[in-house]
């Protein structure tokens, strides 16, 4: 009886050690298997402005409220138009800076006179909620200098970006953390 028990004990011990090796080996060999596919610096999410179709989902899909996506103006591309299709609402009765004529629902796009006949348009990022109405206007009727970017001081870098999951044009991708912005004006040059 005692001998039988000892046998059972050693068998249990063997199963335990075998199991230990069986589970430990794959996990410990992971760094070797993935040695070529490991990135030390990591990734962040960014919108490729050339793929973006300004569908307005960036505003509502981000886990942050307001969204970490903000509008930017690529100044070297901007036409500095008096009649800015990103600034003025279509069908506005008069062309001035009155709130009812502005396309931006939160008044984040600011217009400043530079010299005749040019106006500078800057985005107040504290107001912008990334709704991309101005982006669409500028893309359709202007130079397309307004574009959306994920601001990395606001982005919490989710493991999977909630906007990327919803983005209909797959414009949001992982980019290397050292170069976290895709600047439209630089791409053109």
């Amino acid at each position: 009886m005692k001998k039988n028990k000892d046998k059972q004990e050693t068998r249990r011990e063997f199963v335990k050690i075998a199991g230990r090796i069986l589970v430990a080996a794959p996990v410990l060999s992971l760094p070797l298997i993935l040695s070529k596919k490991t990135d030390i610096k990591g990734f962040v999410w960014q919108i490729d402005p050339n793929k973006c179709t300004s569908c307005e989902l960036c505003k509502s899909s981000c886990v942050m409220t307001p969204s970490a996506v903000k509008c930017m103006n690529a100044f070297p591309m901007c036409g500095y138009c008096d009649f800015c299709p990103g600034f003025l609402r279509q069908g506005a009765k008069t062309y001035n800076t009155a709130a009812e004529n502005q396309l931006c629902p939160v008044g984040a796009l600011k217009r400043k006179f530079v010299e005749e006949p040019y106006f500078e348009y800057t985005v107040d990022e504290t107001l912008c909620d990334g709704c991309s109405k101005c982006v669409k206007g500028c893309y359709n009727f202007g130079n397309g200098s307004l574009y959306l970017q994920i601001m990395h001081n606001l982005c919490v870098n989710c493991n999977q970006c909630a906007i990327a999951r919803k983005c209909p044009s797959d414009a949001i991708t992982r980019v290397p953390a050292e170069e976290p912005y895709i600047r439209k004006e630089l791409k053109k040059v």
């Binding site: 596919k37 990591g42 209909p168």
Partner: protein, 410 residues
């Protein structure tokens, strides 16, 4: 009319760049960066430190009080300060995606987040669950009451994490979705900002957790499955009694997770030969169950593939072509704008379904093996002279320690 105009003019530079006379300079953007990668490595260091501290607290100090404080720290640091991303639970998907896709490389921090807690489980049991995981910590700290769940219900609900893990790995491997991140219940609390569905789900879990402790860990957590398996082979593990068990049965009601194995000194084996025969029969059933699940999942693969956005879009477009139901989703609009051809899309759909077909049987085998081994364990009976924690299911929360009357005086 406007549409026509849009197509007529090529996109860029409709209006020439102005030439300013008054010496105008472009305003500069502030391109703000995230905190550097160095900080992420500090997180890994904190993770390792917290794991060692928990192991010391559970195994050496045997102090529930100390463990609570470590939980508070983990909740504050990994939860509210680091806002829950990236966590070990989600890293499963990064790993799966990196293993089965050539165009994705896993961040080293994510890999370390996956490996380190598992290695810790192999040495000390589920110390990660005990005090380091922020999702575990928030439930641990809000579990005030204990309601025992009937064994059978517990066993059935306990099977959900296996399915969840299998599907999450499959979806990540096919680049379809990060299921675990999408249904993370508490990350919204950590950010104090979440969609209402997440708030409702998280709140329901927390309220349930007051009575049925750690509902996410027990009935959902996919990483817990791995912790469970690794912890079964752990080198050291928390014990209920500090010295010799007196079989006083006081600790029986002490575990809210029903993870205490009762003392069972003499198994009633009438005929050893018969039990051996039964064991062999049961063991030979395991591959059969695995094969059955593999076939089942293989046939389910095309239905599972719907979680992939491209497959969904392809089905919508096909519906439009064949049944005349107009495709109006934003994805369809963007698809028509992008100028991709339908053949391209349908080819990609077939590719993705093919990947699901290849991956799904392996998930089936995993599920079948887990079920088979689980059933086999139910049928076998082990001699136990002490009350001891079930190494797989015990979270090393140290709640049972105070029930043990055996004390060691220095």
């Amino acid at each position: 009319m406007f549409l026509w105009q849009t197509y007529l003019y090529a996109q860029p530079q409709r209006f020439p760049r102005p030439e300013f006379e008054g010496g105008y300079t472009f305003p500069t953007h502030q391109f703000l960066y995230q905190r550097g990668p160095l900080w992420e490595y500090m997180d890994v260091a904190v993770l390792t430190g917290a794991l060692l501290a928990t192991a010391w607290m559970v195994l050496k100090k045997r102090s529930r009080q100390g463990l609570v404080w470590i939980s508070v720290f983990s909740l504050a640091y990994f939860g509210f300060y680091r806002q829950g991303c990236i966590c070990a639970i989600g890293s499963v998907q990064n790993l799966s995606m990196a293993l089965f896709n050539n165009d994705y490389s896993i961040p080293l921090t994510a890999l370390l987040y996956f490996i380190i807690p598992l290695v810790a489980a192999l040495f000390f049991g589920r110390v990660f669950c005990a005090g380091v995981c922020p999702l575990g910590a928030i439930q641990e700290l809000t579990g005030f009451r204990q309601i025992r769940i009937p064994r059978k219900v517990e066993a059935v609900l306990g099977a959900i994490p296996f399915v969840y893990l299998g599907l999450a790995v499959l979806f990540a491997a096919t680049e379809s979705q990060f299921l675990i991140c999408r249904y993370d219940p508490f990350v919204g609390f950590f950010r104090i900002d979440a969609p209402y569905t997440m708030v409702i789900f998280g709140s329901l879990l927390l309220i349930t957790g007051i009575f049925v402790n750690r509902p996410y860990c027990r009935y959902l957590c996919p990483y817990g499955v791995l912790q469970n398996i690794f912890s079964r082979f752990s080198i050291r593990h928390m014990t209920i009694t500090p010295a010799e068990c007196r079989n006083c049965r006081l600790c029986e009601s002490g575990c809210p997770y029903d993870a205490i194995l009762q003392s069972d000194p003499c198994p009633a084996v009438d005929k050893p030969d018969k039990s051996l025969k039964e064991s062999i029969l049961y063991i030979s059933m395991i591959p059969l169950i695995a094969a059955a699940f593999a076939v089942l999942l293989y046939n389910f693969a095309p239905s599972l593939a719907v979680v992939n956005d491209n497959v969904k879009l392809a089905r919508e477009i096909r519906h439009e072509k064949e049944d005349g139901i107009k495709a109006i989703s934003k994805n369809a609009v963007a698809f028509y704008e992008s100028g991709r051809t339908e053949d391209d899309l349908f080819a990609e759909e077939q590719l993705i379904i093919g990947r699901f077909r290849r991956g799904a049987p392996w998930v089936g085998i995993f599920l079948g093996l887990s079920l088979g081994i689980g059933l086999f364990r139910l049928s076998s009976r082990k001699v136990r002279k002490d009350y001891e924690p079930d190494r797989g299911r015990c979270y090393s929360c140290a709640k049972c320690l105070k029930y043990c009357p055996v004390k060691i005086n220095n």
